[in-house]
């Protein structure tokens, strides 16, 4: 019973995201997207669902887990189709062992077509991760590391008013955590990929 409840919880987030996507698509109009004022302050807050995938040079297997992801970004716009800012991300696993990845990145967001809502986002910054790795024959062990993170994202923004929009976004955080102590062994060059999809609310 408990297991089925956990499964329902894990599936409900992607379903909710899909429903939000459909609703947003139905609610929007092309005219709204063309009225977006981009210069000036902006911020967004996103909730989504992500999957972590861990690799390292000496690991016996690739480890994966899923869980909710949260993002907050603030910044300014130097031109009509470019945003600059900082972004904080938090992803954590739904089940045991508890895993968590936190990143803080400086970002650039680019709208290739100023009158459309498509955008790409890229950022670089620092990461702190508590992850579970299998580096020897004794099973998975929890370990922590600090390193460097790259964020790459693409999405579509739907403007409801001149100051408020909803964005649908797919992103990957590539987090290099370095060498991590796992049990009695050392996992070399650990890289964590947190891939996520989400919906964000955007204020300008």
């Amino acid at each position: 019973m408990k297991a089925s409840h956990a499964m329902w919880s894990e599936r409900s987030v992607p379903r909710a995201l899909g429903a939000a996507l459909v609703l947003a698509a139905l609610a929007t109009s092309p005219a709204a997207a063309q009225d977006q004022p981009r210069p000036g302050f902006w911020m967004d807050a996103a909730i989504g669902y992500g999957r972590i995938r861990l690799t390292c040079a000496s690991c016996s297997s690739i480890v994966a887990a899923t869980g909710p992801a949260y993002t907050v970004s603030v910044g300014g716009a130097p031109s009509q189709n470019v945003l600059l800012g900082v972004q904080g991300d938090l992803w954590q696993s739904s089940g045991a062992p508890r895993q968590q990845v936190q990143t803080l990145t400086a970002l650039v967001q680019w709208y290739p077509w100023p009158t459309a809502g498509w955008f790409v986002r890229a950022g670089v910054g620092i990461v702190r991760g508590s992850v579970a790795l299998t580096a020897d024959t004794t099973g998975a062990h929890s370990t922590q590391g600090t390193g460097v993170a790259l964020t790459i994202a693409a999405g579509y923004e739907i403007a409801f008013t001149r100051r408020f929009a909803v964005a649908l976004q797919a992103a990957t955080n590539i987090a290099a955590l370095g060498d991590l102590a796992v049990g009695g062994a050392l996992a070399n060059d650990v890289i964590a990929y947190v891939s996520r999809i989400g919906v964000s609310l955007v204020w300008r």
Binding site: V82, L84, V108, P112, G147, V148, L150, I152, I174, A176
Partner: protein, 507 residues
Amino acid sequence: MRARHLVLLALAATAALAARPAVGTAQDTTKVTTPDTAGAPKRDTTAVPVPGARDTTRADSARGGVGLRKHPILALLQMTSVNIFVNRMDAWVLNVSDPPPVGHYANVTLQSWGVNIRHGWVWDTDAFQVNMFMHPFQGAAYFRSGRVNGLNFWESTPLPFLGSLEWEFFGEKTLPSLNDLYNTGFGGIALGEMTWRMAPLIRDNRARGLGRFVRELLAFPIDPTGAVRRVLNGEAWRSLPNPRGSYPGAFDWVFQGGMQNGVDSGATLHHRTTAEALVEMSYGDPFVTPYSQPFDVFQVRLRAGTGSGGNVKEFRVTGRLWAHELTDTAATFRSILTVMQKLEFESSPAFKYGGQSLNIGFVSGIALGGGWDLQTSLYGEGIMLGAVDAPRSGAAGTDRTYDFGPGLGFSVNASLRTGGFQVLTARWHGAYLHSVSGASADTYTQFPSIEAAVPLTGSFGIGGYAGFYHRRSSYVGQPGESASSPEYRVFLVLHTHRGALPGEPAR
């Protein structure tokens, strides 16, 4: 055979894209009606060089950055064309290969694409020069794909990353390398914008004969895609107006030639004497060129020499991303809050250090009277990805003798000058790197140096330099270690200066 035909088609498409007139080139400025700064339509038929121009927004506008039509799809196609061209050159012309099992790495297949996507990123084991010096040049070609198609600086910044992603996953059979993504991406932005701004200063669309040929030839290494485009569409030999406002208001060159004595990093630590040459170029002047857009002021420093460890010993590009004047522009003492991007590469027999960083700090200047002035700068550095060598660094049995990692740093500079001639310059650079690939290490580096020169004429002089590199590494589970390396140079120096000097009222 069919695949080869498809690639030939792609190459043809590359040529076709390259043959398009670049948005905002001199050719365009005679045809395109653009709004002027007041918003009124203005037909630009008077595009001529403006020596001393301070408004680099106009320069960017004239070359496609502002107010002209943007072509993001064409930018992406041209970026892809660069990858196809490099891949096919490697496969068909150069026939390059890696040691087994990789072999001919450019002969990519659907299977190799699948392997790369499934496996994901790794840290590669290439030599320091390859990773820290050569990759940014490939990134520059991606970046200029955006600039030449009308995108401004910030709009072009995703392109070196996208181009690198495309190359790493689909352009070669080796697993995608995360350090290449960093160095191609960030280095590509710095080198791409630098070369984008330099090329029009070298070319002269009104020159004729041998002079025209030499200028086009000299511009080729810094803007190869632009050079191909100019040959294909005839801009390379047609008489056309030059882009407006290319000159940034101040332009300095420093040339040094001499001998360097430095300690080797080998077990014997013996001194070696080598011949060295240094070129330093300053595009714009923070006290003369008011901030209008990224890289309206930048500096490039290249030092080459004989001896082991490669001929390029030092390469540094620093470009101003943003600035805010904190003082009155007519004051004797001026200070400017500045955000700067830096690409750094240092490779000597004794040590290797490189990285991509964002810097924030103050550039200050004080006019001392009698033609003398003092310029200082103080920056804090966020090192996005650095590389440093140490005895336990890298990967055993490979060309990797260094670690990768993010970090923090600082730099302090002070320069006493007379008439633009640097008489006494002191520098101090410190960095902390936390390794994420290689040894489990935290590395601290310090590099103070001092340089003095005596002007024999207004622009020519003789000088000396002394620097001291110190590194300390601490390791997880192993004792730490440190190393020091002094180096000395004597040189002849030539300064050229054009434009207003700091301390003079801004025009």
